[in-house]
């Protein structure tokens, strides 16, 4: 059964390491929905979160192939256990006339913040699981969205579970 998965990877913070991961996905025909990467508190390491779709076998292969890369330390499929996921979005929404208070109200409901204002638009910042961001876009009516930028998913295990060396 094909499902969305969030995979977290701890890797050496070295030039070229990221391209091996991206290359692996292209080469083996695995899909990448979102991908984020940044150095960790230990700056010799980077942490990467990616979301992908696949059945059990595909995900098993993805994990194994990632683990085979020399610069990769650890790979965890966060979706296998309790976890938190967050994505940040900044979205410019047309806000003129009667729509102006409505956009504001919708942003409030989604606990968004308006971080920039012009005469005819608001820029709203939203944080949450990807579904929440999708829901906001539907709620404001996608035809009023001028521009949206999303960070891609970051994930972390709940409780004591940690991903470290």
């Amino acid at each position: 059964m094909s499902a969305r998965r969030i995979i977290a990877v701890l890797l050496e913070n070295e030039a070229g390491a990221l391209s091996r991961i991206v290359g692996l996905f292209a080469q083996r025909n695995y899909n990448i929905e979102t991908l984020t990467v940044a150095p960790t508190e230990d700056e010799t390491l980077s942490r990467l979160t990616l979301t992908t779709f696949g059945d059990e076998n595909t995900i098993e292969q993805i994990t194994k192939q990632l683990n085979k890369l020399i610069e990769v330390f650890k790979v965890v499929d966060l979706t296998e256990g309790d976890h938190l996921e967050r994505e940040i979005m900044m979205v410019k929404v047309r806000a003129e006339g009667a729509r102006r208070p409505e956009v504001k109200r919708t942003a409030d409901i989604f606990r968004g913040q308006i971080i920039d204002v012009t005469d005819n638009a608001y820029t709203v910042q939203l944080t949450g699981p990807s579904e929440k961001l999708d829901a906001f876009l539907r709620a404001v009516d996608e035809s009023t969205v001028i521009e949206a930028v999303r960070s891609g998913v970051s994930g972390i295990g709940r409780g004591d579970k940690i991903l470290s060396l």
């Binding site: 890797l11 050496e12 030039a15 070229g16 391209s19 091996r20 290359g23 080469q27 076998n57 098993e60 292969q61 194994k64 192939q65 683990n67 085979k68 020399i70 610069e71 990769v72 330390f73 060396l165």
Partner: protein, 584 residues
């Protein structure tokens, strides 16, 4: 006080410290400092090839025959790109080679400088790992890591891209070669999981129709002796993949021959009807399994491999074991010994007798000699040529091959009793591999008989190396199964495209190979009949030609096909066994 050396000197010194004997290479602008460092020393012998692809195959052949890493040096740009086919070949067959490529100076990287190519990028999908030198001081550490990565775990090619400025002769550094290497993110498995090993032994003992199916991992993992021991305990049938030939003795009574697309009838039938399959260092390649959905329906799969990603990739393993073949087989042998000591009847002898009887029936229905319709003295059949080579070399040669029908005939008819004797490009299927690979073997073992069984198409892909053979006096014996066609392509066209031979023949444009060999300074012979063949063979392998390269142009029946052949989309027991009458 540590010695002060330039980057170029450090590089060559590091190779010396790794114990490298040969460096297969070809110079150019970006590698000139390195070549000057080579000139100033004697320990590492540089071999000047005629094409960089051939250098990689030589290093690969050397590595396959010896188990030691082969080393290549190419220049930037075209030198580097020419090496790619050989790197991909080594990658697919998991052989340890280290490829050093020159690169434009660091400050020029990314500017489309003369002979610049992104070698790390272009080789990325076909290497085990790669390095780009940013500073000369990294050179000793990177070389150490490169050899370590290439040779441990599942072996593979490693690229070191060396920008010219990091080899500048005017800048020197303290040279110290690291004694040890530890990579925090790379820890190959050294032994198998004991619980899984016990489970595997139980499954093997409970089997009524077992087959042991072994691949290149047994050869590369130096596990042949342990495998023999296991088979001596169990007395179970063994089949080898194309890459695994020699991992188990080809003349052993328990050997079923090669399996897969052109495997023997009995090997494929036994696989299909097995209740337990023990895969060792094999990866369920599509050329073995045929249609994975129809693969061996009744079999419990026990799969041992050093690479966890090979397990359950194509066929789900019921009992996976990750670990080096030799270490795990050794442990299995211990467990097996105590199990059999405790209960000598742990193996169902009656079931095994039945199983062997079935296998014998398959064997007699279609042994490999079936199709040698004796059509008199000529035309010469390719099978007869391989058998003649086998006899003339007492089965004791190193045999390299190329890709095509000749490769399959060589694999079917030359019986390898030892590992590392059969050397071919099984994974990538690289035409042009055979001659340079044979040269690499001959460098490693100057006194050994090294035979390259090739086809005229494949041979012409790297025949420039005849000149290198002359320069280094390499007495390789080349057996050209000349069917004046891209035979394997033609076979598919005969069988599946109504005999429409689209661009698989040369329309009388082939050279006279005997003259060709002569023009490079070598000896050439031609054989077109069994009688001629016998005469030629007794000459070629006589002491008179011990030190000479000999090219034998064996003009064979161009209509011969390789059988058995798997039926596309079928199970392992779906095979075409002989030429079908032409359809209207």
């Amino acid at each position: 006080m540590a010695e002060m050396l330039s980057g170029a000197d450090m590089l060559i010194r590091a190779l010396q410290d790794e114990g490298v004997e040969y460096l297969f290479g070809y110079p150019g602008g970006a590698s000139l400092h390195i070549y000057d460092a080579i000139f100033k020393q004697q320990k590492v012998e540089h071999v000047l090839v005629r094409h960089e692809q051939a250098a990689t195959h030589m290093a690969d052949g050397y590595a396959r025959a010896t188990g030691q890493p082969g080393v290549v040096l190419v220049t930037s740009g075209p030198g580097a790109t020419n090496a790619i086919t050989g790197i991909a070949t080594a990658h697919m067959d998991s052989t340890p080679i280290v490829v050093i490529s020159g690169q434009v100076p660091n400050p020029q990287i990314g500017t489309d400088a003369f002979q610049e190519t992104d070698m790390v990028g272009i080789s990325r999908p076909v290497v085990k790992h790669s390095f780009l030198i940013r500073e000369a001081s990294q050179i000793p550490e990177v070389v150490k890591r490169a050899f370590y990565i290439a040779t441990t775990g599942r072996p593979g090619p490693v690229v070191i891209d060396v920008p010219k400025d990091s080899t500048d002769p005017n800048e020197t550094f303290e040279y110290r070669y690291p004694r040890k290497v530890a990579l925090r993110s790379y820890n190959p498995t050294l032994r198998g999981h004991s619980g899984q090993i016990r489970k595997a032994v139980r499954a093997l003992l409970a089997a009524k129709r077992p087959v042991i199916y072994t691949g290149g991992g047994v050869v590369q993992g130096n596990a042949s002796a342990d495998l023999r021991e296991l088979v001596d305990r169990l007395d179970y049938p063994v089949t080898n993949t194309l890459m695994g030939l020699g991992g188990f003795p080809g003349t052993d009574r328990r050997f079923l021959g090669m399996l897969g697309m052109h495997g023997t009838f009995e090997a494929n039938m036994a696989m299909h009807h097995a209740d337990v399959i023990f895969a060792v260092g094999a990866r369920f390649d599509d050329r073995v399994t045929n249609n994975p959905d129809k693969f061996c329906p009744d079999a419990t799969i026990v799969h041992l491999d050093v690479d966890p990603a090979s397990i359950s990739k194509i066929i789900r393993a019921d009992i996976p074991i990750v670990g080096p073949a030799a270490a795990v087989l050794r442990e299995m042998n211990q467990v097996l010994e105590s199990s059999l000591d405790r209960n000598p009847d742990a193996i169902d002898r009656d079931a095994m007798a039945d199983w062997w009887n079935r296998i014998r029936r398959w064997r007699s229905k279609h042994g490999l000699d079936h199709d040698q319709r004796h059509r008199g003295d000529s035309p010469l059949l390719p099978q007869q040529v391989v058998q003649a080579v086998y006899r003339a070399t007492s089965g004791d040669a190193y045999v390299t091959s190329d890709v095509g029908q000749h490769q399959m005939f060589a694999a079917q008819y030359y019986k390898f009793d030892e590992p590392r004797r059969w050397i071919n490009s099984g994974g990538l299927g690289t035409m042009g591999f055979g001659l340079p690979a044979a040269m690499g073997v001959q460098f490693a073992y100057p006194d050994a008989t090294v035979v390259c069984i090739t086809g005229e198409g494949s041979f012409m892909m790297n025949m420039q190396e005849l000149s290198t053979c002359m320069q280094y006096a390499l007495p390789v014996k080349i057996i050209n199964l000349n069917n004046a066609a891209l035979g394997m392509v033609k076979q598919w066209q005969d069988m599946q495209y109504g005999g429409r031979l689209s661009h698989s023949t040369y329309r009388d444009a082939l050279p006279d190979f005997v003259d060709l060999a002569g023009s490079f300074g070598h000896a050439g012979f031609r054989a077109s009949s069994v009688t001629e063949l016998d005469e030629v063979m007794s000459e070629v392998f006589s002491p008179a030609y011990k030190d000479k390269l000999v090219f034998v142009d064996a003009c064979i029946d161009p209509e011969e096909h390789v059988y058995p052949m798997a039926i596309k989309g079928g199970a392992m027991d779906d095979m075409v066994l002989e030429r079908q009458p032409a359809r209207a």
